[in-house]
Structure formats: structure tokens, C-alpha cells
């Protein structure tokens, strides 16, 4: 091979491709990784009046690294924190399942709707984003509160008895500030994040596969279960993650719609930072929350990668 060496400038300066890939990474580095490391540092720091002690100190020629794990021990031992983490995961999981149950049929029929109708349907899914999220969540306060028409309708239909029996509300006829109103608000807010990846996935599906399944003796219902569902796995996973992850750390919706019963980790975080001013403790809670989400996801990803490898 007689390759001419690249001019020096081209070798040293990043090309267009590197810039396109590199810029988002720089962004993440500066505004995600760096802040995370700062939070991590705060969580193991000692408070000294209003500032933090340095982790590394040089005293009399001795370099000292002092890490304070007290907060971690405290959080891990305290039942309140544990219960709050658990509640966050529980509500997030319930929201994810409900979004899936509502979003899957929706995305399915949207993907099967006439091609001319689909842009309009897609538009309807995204329409809520055109108004303020805060406003939309706040509106539920009125709808579910006393004399709110949704609340009155549900009570008239005696849905509140069912919710009471299921332990989702505490007293008959009172829907606001309950697990019910919290999950309702979260499902309402995050539903589009479930529908959109599912729709993208389902609309790509080769419909002849369903014909093939029917030709081989599968009823339409069975063909759906054996072909459509497995083939939309990637969409289900993507949608579930897009709903579950932000739900775990959700603050605004529990604050507006959740009651005292529904303490979620986002609110605890807020209290530690802004009410107690205990930054190391707040940072600890935040770090543990990230671990709580990342560890299962990482395990899941590894499992996926292994399954992929097995197939190859």
C-alpha cells in the first residue's frame, strides 16, 4: 500500500465526525458527570459551618484523605429512608405498568390506523406538551379535589369504594392527596413517553408475519401474543425505562398530587436540601437513588448483551 500520510493539521484537529460525536459527550461530561462527582464528593464530606472540609488535607507533611460515610450508614439503617425508596420504586412500577397497559393498545391501533390518519393521532399524543407541565398537573388538583367534576363522576360511579377497598385512598369520597391521585397524575404525565417508542416499534412491524402466523394455524389473538408482543420487546423496554426512571425520582407530581401517605424520594431530597439544609445527607440520598436505578439497569443491559451474543 502506498498511502500518503495525512497532513499534520488533519491528524491533530478533530474532523467533522469527531466533533458531532464529541460535542454531546463534552456536554454530558460537563453537565452530568462533573456535577455527579461533585454530589458524590459532598455526600462524603464533613460540614464546617457553611462550607465543606476538603477531602484531601496536607498537614505536617501527612496527606490525609477523610471520607465520611456516616450519612450512608444512617440512610441505610433508617427505616424511613428505606420505606421511602421502596415507595418510590413501587409507585414508579405501578405507573409503568399502567402506562404499558394503556399505551400498548393505543400505540398498536395507532400503528394500524390508516396511514393518512397517523400523523393526526401522533399529534394528539404530543399535544399535551404544548402546555406547561406544571399547569397540567395542577389542573388535576381541581379535577380531583372536592367538587371537581372528575371526582364527582368517580364518586357517582362508586369508583371510590373500589379504590378504598384497594387501599388507594384513605377515606371514602376523598380522592386528592392519595396514592390514587399520585399514580393517576404520573400515568397522565408519562403516558406519551410510553406510547411514542411503542408506536415507533409497532409501526415498523412487517404485517405479513401476522399473516404467516395465521396461515400456520394461530388465531389472531395467538398471533398477537406469539409474534407482535415478542417483536415489540424493544419498544416495551424503551417505553418502560422512559417512564420508570423519571418516575422514581419524581418530585413535582408527588408534591402537588400526593398526600402525606405517599412520601417519595424526590420529596425527601427536597426536604434535606432546602428545609434541613443538610447537603451531605441530601447528596447521599441522591447518590443512593442513582445507584438504585442504575444497578438494576446495568444488570439488565448485561443480560441483554449476553442474550444478543448467544444469538450471534
Amino acid at each position: 500500500m502506498n498511502a500518503t500520510p495525512l497532513p499534520l493539521a488533519r491528524r491533530l484537529l478533530p474532523g467533522g465526525r469527531a466533533a458531532v460525536i464529541g460535542l454531546p459527550y463534552l456536554w454530558l461530561l460537563a453537565f452530568f458527570l462533573a456535577p455527579f462527582l461533585i454530589v458524590l464528593k459532598i455526600s462524603v464530606s464533613e460540614m464546617e459551618n457553611v462550607s465543606f472540609k476538603d477531602l484531601l488535607t496536607l498537614q505536617d507533611g501527612v496527606l490525609q484523605l477523610s471520607l465520611r460515610f456516616g450519612n450512608y450508614l444512617y440512610v441505610l439503617q433508617d427505616e424511613l429512608y428505606f420505606a421511602t425508596y421502596l415507595a418510590s420504586v413501587k409507585y414508579a412500577a405501578a405507573t409503568t405498568l399502567l402506562c404499558l397497559a394503556i399505551g400498548y393498545p393505543f400505540a398498536y391501533f395507532m400503528a394500524r390506523a390508516p396511514k393518512t390518519l397517523q400523523p393526526a393521532l401522533l399529534m394528539l399524543v404530543m399535544l399535551p406538551f404544548w402546555t406547561s407541565f406544571l399547569l397540567r398537573v395542577y389542573a388535576w388538583k381541581a379535577l380531583l379535589g372536592e367538587q371537581g367534576w372528575v371526582a364527582e363522576l368517580l364518586i357517582a360511579l362508586q369508583v371510590d369504594d373500589l379504590l378504598l377497598a384497594a387501599g388507594l385512598i384513605a377515606t371514602e369520597g376523598k380522592l386528592m392527596n392519595t396514592p390514587f391521585s399520585l399514580v393517576l397524575g404520573m400515568v397522565y404525565t408519562y403516558l406519551p413517553f410510553m406510547i411514542l417508542p411503542l408506536y415507533a416499534n409497532l409501526s415498523k412491524m412487517d404485517l405479513r408475519l401476522l399473516e404467516a402466523a395465521q396461515d400456520l394455524g394461530a388465531t389472531p389473538a395467538l398471533a398477537f401474543w406469539k409474534v407482535t408482543v415478542p417483536l415489540s420487546k424493544a419498544g416495551i423496554i424503551a417505553g418502560s425505562m422512559l417512564v420508570f426512571i423519571p418516575c422514581v425520582g419524581e418530585f413535582v407530581i408527588p408534591e402537588l398530587l400526593g398526600g402525606p401517605q405517599t412520601l417519595m424520594i424526590g420529596r425527601v431530597l427536597w426536604d434535606e436540601f432546602f428545609s434541613n439544609n443538610d447537603w451531605p445527607m441530601a447528596a447521599t440520598v441522591a447518590v443512593l437513588m442513582i445507584l438504585l436505578i442504575i444497578v438494576p439497569l446495568a444488570l439488565f443491559n448485561r443480560y441483554q448483551a449476553q442474550a444478543q451474543e448467544k444469538r450471534a
Binding site: 412487517d206 395465521q214 396461515d215 400456520l216 388465531t219
Partner: protein, 368 residues
């Protein structure tokens, strides 16, 4: 088979009208015998695929009946028909292995696990894919995918096998090899088969009988040789293979022979036709049935059945050469001559004047 016995598969006056003007399938009736490989041949939009989909149960006929082995299929959904289909570009389940693809239909029948395994193994052996049982479809070549699709559609031992453009997704070389292999497997299994194709070569080599379709109608049904040698009308003559079509008038109508006058030449045909003197007819003459030479040929019924022209073009194909002979009227006669000898003396070349001649029996008179 006695004449009275109904055919194995009866397509009886079937119509499919999707609305909006054109009728996709227009009063089609075909009888297909057990064990036959039958091809529906036509260009895209001729209704052949719609007809196949009605057999599979994906479309419902607007009117007419489809009867398989004495059972009227009307009202039977695809999943209850004893018919399996090999789809165009196969429609293999991408999330299932080769083994599971083949087992899919068997499991739906509630077959015992051992029996399923046994049948799948037998199918894998039939299509020689035993080594690939655990692979996913995307890890197979086009030819292998085609065999998986075949195995999957044969696994349930259907009473009727449908093939939708079975070799359409393969490249030319592989297609030729696969044609024979596919026919061998189908004949080994002994299943009755209806295939749809737009490729006349594929239809001719694979099928025992062919139906040529155009605009929703069946124009002719027959064995490949019948369809080629005795086309029933202009469309079929033109659609199957190469042909010279010469319009003319019936000038002499005898019970044992007729004479047709065309612009450049006249044709003496050794059989009678139903027609009257002066009626417009078309003579179809295949290029390979014409003989080409320098000198004026002595023909039996001179001056009929020969014509003089100028070689305007020639295409050398190795085993044969196609000459384009320009006639006086401007019509171009295609003549194909097989290159039997390596160094033939007096070969024709561009600009040469040459005589074309043919025998009385090589012409087909088309009245429509």
C-alpha cells in the same frame, strides 16, 4: 381420473371486486388435480396474487366458490384451512430460530412435544438444514431462508401448498438451481401446489400446468409446451417467450389448409380454421422456428412461407444468435439460429440480404 369426478381443487367462477373500478379477479374458474404443481402466471396487477390470497383465506371472494377435496372453503379463516403458504420473501419470524419457525404451526395444532420434534427434524432433513436449526433467520443466506420457509409451510402436511413468488428474492444463478430442488422436494412430499409468479421461465420449468392471467381474467390454461406452442391469443403468444406477430387477412379458406396474406409475405397453414375469407387474423411465428439463409430457399408451398429481408441487427448469445431481419414494410422479423457448428461458412452479418423460411406447421393462426 374419470371425467365425472370433481377436481381436487375447484376454483369456481370466483370474482373479487375491491371496488373502485377494476375487478381484481374476474370470473375465474380453474380445476386443479391432486399432486399437480400449478402456476398462476401474469404481470403485476393481473390478479394472480389476489387469487392466491383467496385460496389462503386472507381475502374473501365477492362471489364464486373455492372447493378443496370436497370441502367448500367459504367462511373458513386462514388458521382453520388445511392450506399453508410460502410467503413472498418468506416472512420468517425474526425472533424465532429455524427450529421454532418450523415448529410454529405444529405447536398451534396442539401436537405432542415429541411428535413436534420428530416432524421438525424430518423437515430439517428434507431441506438439508439440520446444522442450522438453532440459527435465527437473519443469520442465513437467501437460499437457506427460502428452504426454511418451505420447511415451515410443509411441516403441517397441508392439503394444498401455496407459493407466492417462491424464488423472487433469489439471484438468477441460485434461482435456476433452486427451481429444480424445490420441485424435487414438492414432488417427494406429493403435495398439491399452486404457485404465483411473474417469471415465465420459473412457471415453465416448475409447473405441470400454467394459467396465464391478465387484468383479472384467465386467458389460457395448459401445460408449458401447449401454452408455448399453441397460444390461444395474441396476449399469450406475446407474453410467453419471443414471437413474431404478423397481421394479415384470410385469403383462402379450405378445410385442410388456409392461406393468409400479410404485408410482406403470405402464409400457407396446413389446417383449417374457423373463419371466413377476408377476416383479419394474426400469424404467430416463434423466432427459433424460422430458418435463415443467403439463397432463395426451395419451400414446399412457394411462394408462401418465405420472405426476404435485410439483417439489421444481430445479437450473439453463444449457443444461438438472434437476427433482426428488416422486411419491406418495415416490420422486423426476429430469427434465432442455434450455433451448431463452430465455424459455419457463409455466416450472415449486418447489411446482408437473407431469406427467411418456415414450415407450414410452425405457424399459429390467432383469431383473437
Amino acid at each position: 381420473m374419470t371425467a365425472a369426478a370433481p377436481a381436487y381443487l375447484q376454483i369456481d367462477d370466483v370474482v373479487k371486486d375491491f371496488g373502485g373500478g377494476a375487478v381484481a379477479v374476474n370470473h375465474v374458474s380453474i380445476d386443479i388435480a391432486k399432486g399437480e404443481i400449478f402456476a398462476l402466471l401474469g404481470s403485476s396487477g393481473c390478479g394472480k396474487t389476489t387469487l392466491l390470497r383467496m385460496l389462503a383465506g386472507f381475502e374473501t371472494p365477492t362471489s364464486g366458490r373455492i372447493v378443496l377435496a370436497g370441502q367448500d372453503l367459504a367462511g373458513l379463516p386462514p388458521y382453520e384451512r388445511p392450506i399453508n403458504m410460502m410467503f413472498q420473501s418468506y416472512a420468517l419470524f425474526p425472533h424465532l430460530s429455524v427450529w421454532d419457525n418450523i415448529a410454529f404451526g405444529l405447536k398451534r395444532d396442539g401436537m405432542a412435544r415429541d411428535a413436534v420434534a420428530e416432524r421438525v427434524e424430518a423437515m430439517l432433513k428434507l431441506v438439508q438444514l439440520g446444522k442450522y436449526a438453532k440459527r435465527k433467520p437473519h443469520q442465513l443466506s437467501g437460499g437457506q431462508q427460502q428452504r426454511v420457509a418451505l420447511a415451515r409451510s410443509l411441516a403441517k402436511r397441508p392439503q394444498l401448498l401455496l407459493l407466492d413468488e417462491p424464488l423472487g428474492a433469489l439471484d438468477k444463478k441460485l434461482r435456476e438451481e433452486t427451481q429444480i430442488e424445490l420441485v424435487n422436494i414438492i414432488e417427494e412430499v406429493g403435495v398439491t401446489c399452486v404457485m404465483v409468479t411473474h417469471d415465465q421461465e420459473e412457471a415453465m420449468t416448475m409447473a405441470s400446468r400454467i394459467a396465464i392471467m391478465s387484468e383479472g381474467r384467465v386467458l389460457q390454461v395448459g401445460a408449458p409446451a401447449d401454452v408455448y406452442e399453441t397460444p390461444g391469443n395474441r396476449f399469450v403468444a406475446d407474453f410467453i417467450g419471443n414471437v413474431n406477430l404478423m397481421d394479415g387477412k384470410l385469403s383462402c379458406d379450405n378445410p385442410d389448409h388456409v392461406v393468409i396474406d400479410c404485408a410482406d409475405c403470405s402464409h400457407w397453414v396446413g389446417h383449417g380454421i374457423t373463419g371466413t375469407e377476408g377476416m383479419a387474423v394474426t400469424v404467430a411465428l416463434r423466432p427459433e422456428k424460422i430458418h435463415l439463409q443467403h439463397e432463395e430457399p426451395p419451400v414446399e408451398h412457394a411462394p408462401h412461407n418465405r420472405v426476404r429481408g435485410t439483417v439489421r441487427d444481430l445479437s450473439y448469445f453463444g449457443s444461438f444468435t438472434v437476427y433482426h431481419l428488416a422486411l419491406a414494410s418495415g416490420q422486423v422479423l426476429k430469427v434465432s439460429q442455434s450455433n451448431v457448428e463452430r465455424h459455419r461458412g457463409g455466416v450472415l452479418t449486418w447489411g446482408d440480404t437473407a431469406w427467411a423460411s418456415w414450415t407450414p406447421s410452425s405457424q399459429v393462426v390467432l383469431t383473437q
